[in-house]
């Protein structure tokens, strides 16, 4: 077909389309509207996009969903299904992968904390579900015990189910704090190094006093084994974020553990009313979360790790020769346990604060986000959030800004 002929048939096509539509009253009217020209949403709305060399921060929109996840979301969007069915079936598969009795997808880790807490309080009692978070006079238990060092802001999620937080430091204090109002013992994995009581002892205390235990491992994969480690250890409930290293939808998380608690948590969750109704996850998110988990579990994690190290080497090589610059690999021990590049500079040789550095990288083109708020004359770069090839841009931009701020000798 010649160019001219092609043009001709293109002109004819829309007409043919509209004729069909007119002949079929059942046709959705929407399909008659000419499809909008391809839009660049971010540009259209004037929203700054950036190369993420920081990490899986909620404010920075978490992580980017890989193709597998987007495909699952796309497929999920095509048909109706009962939300309860989706939670049940997907939950069963997630539970199987994570060595749990049951699991459900929530609207983030915070939501998992709150719903798990609600489940522990209410059991399968619908009346109680409607009473949370107003526990006074309901007969529900009202206290949760945790270590002071584990009170890092996320425990606030538990209070939304109505409980009071009782903070302790020693084993003796735990035993003294336990009473007939104690609903649960809570543990924040990230702060395990700071607390006196470690996992095993915490679980032993829970068992001794017949109290359920919950552990928050929000950002604590990799290692991938953490997905099942705490279920294997005996925690009754485990909560984790879906939108971080697992790269599921940013607004998802998982609550998993004992069947009786997960089943009870589902009662407080949408599609029912109750305290969790506002924390909606749709079927696309639930199936997207599963696809992300499946992908993550099947990843070659050793290769991933090597890839991050190679990226670190590339960036470090570009800047270590600059006078006054020091680079090292830093691996956070518990949460976000992946290699990052720490760059430190001598402030007498490079006149730039860490905050200024962050701002200059942010204002550059392309915009780059790094961790610039942790220590003076230091920034840190996460590798696991970089898309292919972006490490070269990060290297070039860092080099440029460091050189620009170097004191000429």
């Amino acid at each position: 077909m010649k160019r001219r002929e092609i043009l001709k048939s293109l002109t004819i096509l829309p007409l043919a389309g509209s004729m069909t539509a007119a002949a079929a009253p059942l046709e959705n009217v929407f399909s008659a509207i000419a499809p909008a020209a391809k839009r660049d949403l971010f540009a259209e709305l004037g929203i700054r996009t950036f190369i993420n060399a920081a990490g899986n921060y909620t404010v920075m929109s978490g992580s980017l969903m890989p193709t597998d996840v987007m495909d699952a979301i796309n497929a999920a969007s095509k048909k109706y299904a009962l939300i309860d069915d989706v939670q049940e079936k997907v939950g069963a598969k997630i539970a199987e992968i994570c060595h749990a009795e049951a699991a459900m997808v929530t609207a983030g880790c915070w939501s998992a904390l709150m719903l798990g807490m609600a489940g522990v309080l209410t059991g399968m009692d619908a009346k109680r579900v409607s009473q949370v978070p107003n526990l006074a006079g309901t007969g529900m238990k009202t206290e949760v015990i945790l270590q002071t060092s584990h009170s890092a802001g996320y425990d606030h999620a538990l209070t939304q189910a109505g409980v009071k937080l009782i903070k302790v430091e020693t084993r003796a204090e735990v035993e003294a704090a336990i009473n007939e109002n104690t609903a649960m013992l809570w543990f924040l994995n990230r702060e395990v190094h700071k607390g006196q009581i470690k996992h095993e002892e915490w679980l032993e205390l829970g068992k001794k006093h017949n109290l359920p235990t919950m552990i928050d491992i929000a950002a604590d994969v990799p290692p991938v084994e953490n997905l099942w480690k705490f279920n294997d250890m005996g925690f009754d409930l485990v909560v984790i974020s879906g939108g971080k290293a697992m790269r599921g939808p940013q607004s998802t998380g998982i609550l998993m553990g004992k069947k009786k608690y997960v089943a009870a948590a589902l009662l407080s969750n949408n599609p029912r009313g109750g305290i969790g109704r506002g924390q909606k996850v749709n079927k696309e998110e639930i199936l997207g979360m599963y696809a992300a988990l499946h992908r993550f579990v099947n990843l070659d994690h050793q290769k991933e790790w090597q890839l991050w190290e190679a990226k670190i080497a590339l960036i470090a090589n570009a800047i270590t020769s600059i006078d006054g610059v020091k680079t090292e690999t830093f691996i956070p021990p518990t949460d976000n346990n992946m290699p990052t590049l720490k760059v430190t500079w001598d402030s007498s040789k490079i006149k730039l604060t860490n905050i200024e550095m962050g701002e200059r990288l942010r204002q550059g083109n392309p915009s780059v986000e790094v961790i610039s708020w942790e220590a003076p004359n230091t920034i840190r770069c996460g590798m696991h959030v970089l898309e292919a090839g972006e490490e070269k841009i990060v290297a070039a931009r860092l080099k440029e800004e460091l050189l620009k701020a170097s004191v000429k000798s």
């Binding site: 996009t49 095509k78 939300i83 069915d85 109704r277 909606k280």
Partner: protein
Amino acid sequence: MKRREILKTLTMLPLAGAICNSGSIVQSVQAAPLLKRDVFSEFGLRTFINASGYFTSLSGSLMNEEAFEAIRDASKHFCRLEDVQDKVGARIASLLHAESAMVTAGAFSALMLGMAGVLSGNDAKKASQIPFLEGSGIKSEVILQKAHNDGYAHALKNCGVKLITVTTAKELENAISDQTAMMYFINYQASLGEIQHAEWLKIAKKHNLPTMIDMAADLPPKENLWKFHDMGFDLVCVSGGKFMRGPQSTGILSGKKDLIAAARLNAPPRGNNIGRGMKVNKEEIFGLYFALERFINSDQDQEWKMLEDRITVIANAASSVRGVKAEVIPLLLINRIPTLTISWDKSLIKLDNLATNLREGNPSIEVMGGPGGSINVTTHMLKANEVKIVAQRIKDELMNAMV
């Protein structure tokens, strides 16, 4: 190119790709891509033709193509969630005649966040205290009409407030005290209450109290999107995953600038607040915006006619069976869209469980069960090719049950 040559090239392509990969450390290590998956059959999930409605338990509505395109585009880049809420919120606000707007995790979430904003104002400490209002200095009561206390008001209670229900305007005036935080109105129950919108607003204004209206499922008509702002409600809550066909887990809170700003203090990405568990991601925010835009640009008269035409097809098929009555019922209070009710003479047709039979048939069809085994059918959630299938399946079931 001959077929054989094409095949050859196809075989070569992956190989060429692999060479590029191994030469570059920058390639992200991916597990072998999963085969194109049918997620529903993989999990043994029953999918169905939805002739019932956009109910949350039935997974709401199917997103329109624009919404999904927006989601796909949004998934490609990192950006700040606050930026997305700022910019998309401003666009939504201008479409809705509101000062400001934000996307929430559903209408229930909008109710909670709007309430929390009213309670906390611009005070982060107060936000962190919700829902435990005692001794915080935060007001603790919300007034609504008894007829409006339908279950969704539970969202407000989740913020710690007490619901004070009234029937008359006089009771309302008496109920207002220094503890009154807000006056709440639910649109779909309006006709059941003594006090209508305008009077509600007038009394609120007199006492300088903020007002919120819940119109979760009250589209169409699309004019409702701005009507209540124009009337003077301070906060308006609507669902995004129903007639608008945005992501099922979204809603909009729109209204006064200071109240929306306060609501955002109670919402993610900020923590230490009641809303942190109600996450919406950038994909959902963009998806909802595109769905809204498309909804506003659609020709609703033409669409209404389409829904009626579809109803006619199904009604004709059903009533062609002797003893069957198929009629369009008057618009309900909620979900005001053309609805067909189908009933039959039990002496001619022995059928008690038509809704179940349709659900268990192939393809599975969801309808609403009605009194005496009758069914209600709607057509706004049907795809074009499903109308005839629904008509035929209903007719077949009725025919098969003829005495």
